[in-house]
Symmetry: C3
Subunit: 208 residues, 3 copies
Amino acid sequence: MFRNFLPKEVNFFELFEKQVGFALEAAVYFKELVSKGAIDEESLKNMHEIEHKADDVAHDIIEHLNKTFITPFDREDIFALAKQLDDIADMIYTITSRSRVYKLTGVNKNLVEFASVIEDSVRAVTCAVKGLRSMKNLKSINEACVEINRLENVGDAMRDKVFMELFETEKDPIMVIKLKEIYQDAETVLDICEDVTHVVGAILVKQA
Amino acid sequence: MFRNFLPKEVNFFELFEKQVGFALEAAVYFKELVSKGAIDEESLKNMHEIEHKADDVAHDIIEHLNKTFITPFDREDIFALAKQLDDIADMIYTITSRSRVYKLTGVNKNLVEFASVIEDSVRAVTCAVKGLRSMKNLKSINEACVEINRLENVGDAMRDKVFMELFETEKDPIMVIKLKEIYQDAETVLDICEDVTHVVGAILVKQA
Amino acid sequence: MFRNFLPKEVNFFELFEKQVGFALEAAVYFKELVSKGAIDEESLKNMHEIEHKADDVAHDIIEHLNKTFITPFDREDIFALAKQLDDIADMIYTITSRSRVYKLTGVNKNLVEFASVIEDSVRAVTCAVKGLRSMKNLKSINEACVEINRLENVGDAMRDKVFMELFETEKDPIMVIKLKEIYQDAETVLDICEDVTHVVGAILVKQA
């Protein structure tokens, strides 16, 4: 159990669990918003608050990292994990904000599908990050990582399908510009989740 | 004073000041160019020279870093700072070059506004980087970082406003493609400046 | 000869040579495909397999890196090199896949030109990476890096020229969106090759 090495005053595990909690909150809220098909000023403000809270925890982690000599795993891995969990909430906020800037209204079934895969993936990320507390969770961490990778492939195929459809059916180039960006960003959330599995993999291998 | 730890033959502070000087030169020149609203072959060449000089200093820093055992602050922070200061000049050159490739002419008041915020931000970056020579400058470094973060938020709001306006008023999709990219890149310069504050923060925390 | 420091059971040089081999295979196949001007389901599948093999070697390298205490050069340099060689094959696959998604058909002479420069650059990358086995190859490594940098500049100029032409002559905005992305990605492959020279430079300086 590498937990014993932790100085009492800083618990990186707690901070990471808090951070991934906000990433999941953003993903769940995003799916809710796109399923309703209307992003008003208030829901954008709510999403911004979630993103802000995730950002605050990231700053806490980096600050503790810079001040702490002994860390539960490699500094570079802690830094990368904090950055990636931050990027998840960030990118979800960006898509929400951009949807409003572009005045996209109505339910976009492709985006609902993306939001659903994103929620599943961030849920698996949550499981993997929470598992890091103990090597006893090795099996469930591995299963979560396999699932995240599977969902990234699902997202890739979805983006290709959706792009093909968009370029075939949408005759308004301005709408193509808007939706291409939104779909691309949605797929990027799944890429970031996959990046998390690389860091988690590095942490596990070093502990083994 | 961590300055004493520096080997005499390599002065990273001098190199960073030189590098941030070129970033500022690029920002000032950029504002001048967009205010006149005409980027001719010669002004593009001038900007390229500034970018090239910034690039040369970055290479000097990396080379010294690879050869030097004792550095004034963590190697990874030196590397990140050199990369970011390089990215500032680089991105300003890219916008200048792209404006010419896209044959954008006339004064674009949005771009002038962006250029003005960029100049302010790079000026604050200059102040933060020069402050690193001594922990006595802690207060002014912190103030500069707060200002850079404020300007990044200003830039975010500007981009959203400008995007909304662009997609509402511009009927030519080709022009939308061109201006969307230029505005996005302008906002990216402010993002890079914000990244500098993270590295500066890491350096300060470790020195404390 | 730093080769002696290598533990017998892991040969990073062999892995890197294998990885750069797949990057080159992707580049050569890409040129073949764009020269014929038709990317069918089977050729896309072939390219995906090459990309997948490159990816597998990258995972091997990272895993060995995490398990190995003594490495032939700095861990961060090994990590960066594995990532960059992976990115080369990845980006070439992305362009191939996107060309098919966008249903681009016929020979695009600009893309053939890009593919030719990409092949030359990846060939020089291969030479630089293979040279790392021994400091006796210093001269040929340096020559390869100079060539990669030259080709990146060639690519920059090509992209500017091709963009200018595209925005002047192509009247269909949807086609502008498609081709702009494809050309930009093609130029990005050359940027990644240039990034390799930075890591190779860092490795050489530290060995000197």
